[in-house]
Amino acid sequence: MYQYDQFDHLIIRERIAQYRDQVRRRLADELTEAEFLPLRLQNGLYMQRHAYMLRIAVPYGLLASKQMRMFAHIARKYDRGYGHFTTRQNIQFNWIELEQTPDILTDLASVEMHAIQTSGNCIRNTTSDPYAGVAADEIIDPRPYAEVLRQWSTFHPEFIALPRKFKVAINGAVEDRAAIAIHDIGLTVVRNDAGEIGFKFMAGGGMGRTPIIGSVIREFLPWQHLLTYTEAVMRVYNQHGRRDNKYKARIKILLKALGVEEFTRQVEAEWADLKDGPETLTVEEMQRVIDYFQPPAYKTLEDTDVVAAQAGNKAFANWVNRNVKPHKVPGYAAVVLSLKKTGVPPGDATAEQMDFMADLADRYSFGELRVTHEQNVVLADVEQSQLFALWQEAKAHGLATPNIGLLNDMICCPGGDFCSLANAKSIPIAAAIAERFDNLDFQHDIGEIELNISGCINACGHHHVGNIGVLGVDKDGSEWYQVSIGGAQGNNAAIGKIIGPSFSALQMPEVIDRLLQVYLRDRFEGETFAECVARIGIAPFKEFVYATPIAEKGGRLVGEDEYV
């Protein structure tokens, strides 16, 4: 993985000094809260309901074991013993004191980490495929390009006060595992007919109040031009993106307003001037960065049938079936450590689990881990012969729930329990659903399904692209939940459709149950929930869910029927 050189270290050191002084001036009232707000946000520090939340950048989701141990240290020393992995492959801590944040940054810098631009109206952490470098369907490893983008965007002087936040995702495989279509810029590394490397360049995707799938603005951008072309997009957006309404300020709204053709014309006109300029990437620079992402020293092994070797062990077979992913090198596999154990908020991990995951990485996976945007952790380079031993250890620490890709592998934002933006709680909804469908045999029968929950329209829980999406809404001070189906991420990204009036929290498990009943009734053999919805449409689901009232325990009607 990438390692800091003296320049990276210098910039981070100077950043900490700058931020430490900003905090000092805020505490001395030399800076007003309004002036301090964008400064702390660009350092990932949010004011939440109860305390400050600090979001730390995990560039493209890749972590060294010592960095994971640092998270455990921060959880213990500055927080309440746990952290929350986010849908943007970062980690956040929910109980932070402002006065301590400069020291946290100093601790982070000792393991080459920071919190720069993890929030605020600037270019955020670039996200990528958690299986980058090991996926069998990979065309090109996207991580070196993500690192180049990280450096270029860090403190870019012209783009620190954009109309709104700006998120870039990059994928380098046949299957899109980076959800590129719902990002402000979504890049796919491709080869052209001549075998040259470049990017299919999408822009204008996003979620929030107006979910929009991104548009391709360039089919093939040679890799040398990655930074200059991105700069052109940024300059068009910085000058022309709306600033009068924060809900209309993302690049997706500008792109829609101008139309893809006109937007692209403006970008190309801007780029004409930048093309082949000093920010054009050189072979030497790209090779230097690529050299940091060389494969580890794999042994020469052969693929084995690990399940057959443990014949009769159904629990292990289930885990292999769900949590073990193919690897391009024979004899190896990628393992997903599930942070979706029933009873634990999705994406949460304790300090002990973090230390333990770091140990597993050191012993089983060349000392590296990856955070997925589904809020799990991946050990990407495990020998197949070690899977059984790894499973036993992970199981003992609550990290081997065999539910990856299943109903209980939900994406869920922190919601109203923590977040001051939220309209409604999301973690208790996830918990109630998880409890209702805790039966793994049932989950395996349902198969692949993405259930995504957001506590408000900002859509941190990616509800728009969930096969089932749940959105917390506020009506006259009470919390309600709007349900959509038919969303999808990946190559066939789609925005879900709302099935009808909202539900109360207590109704939600039954609503999910009814949706699943329709699927079980109408599915063809081998058809996933998403495929079934795509085939039969939302009408049968809607009809069944609303056919009879959903009563709370004790028979009282709840939900909008009652609320009227």
């Binding site: 390692q3 002087p157 620190i160 006060a161 000093p278 920010e279």
Partner: protein, 192 residues
Amino acid sequence: MSKHLIIKGREVVEDDWQVLRLAEPVEGAPAHDPATVAVPAGKFIVPLSLWLVQREVLAARTAAGEIAVWIAPDERPETLKGLLDQFPLIAVDFPKFTDGRGYSIAYNLRTRLGWTGELRAIGDVLRDQLFSMQRVGFNAYAVRADRDPHDALKGLSDFSETYQASVDQKVPLFRRHARPAPVAANNDGAGI
């Protein structure tokens, strides 16, 4: 004539330019109309829109070096193409420090329009934005009146190195330095 302190280059100096804002009523003329607002005597930085409609009226004073223009976030610096040479300085207004359009205006003035004279940030100009302002080509800063320009000056030296190219440094880090190749992975000294 009133004098106040601004930052020029890396020094705090006295300055006698005044900024004319249309929203501020001027005696004897209806406010907000750039065509009829009279520019009082003295050295004035006037709105671009005003100068464009009154350029004939102001021609003599412009030639005498008493008139400069300021550009608002929603105005295009290209409007001044071919006209820049007559101004002793160009200013860019930041009505709120969170509005970043002025950075792109500065970039365009320097790199596309070739402005090499004084480029002054006016408005909500604060210490923590000065480093970025300097990078995109500003070289003078009229710090907000309630703030000490001597304190703000410190903002210009927050960083001694930067990754990307901009106006102040036209060559990105990767072209300026031979950056080291990876060394063998080192997981010792986990830094805790």
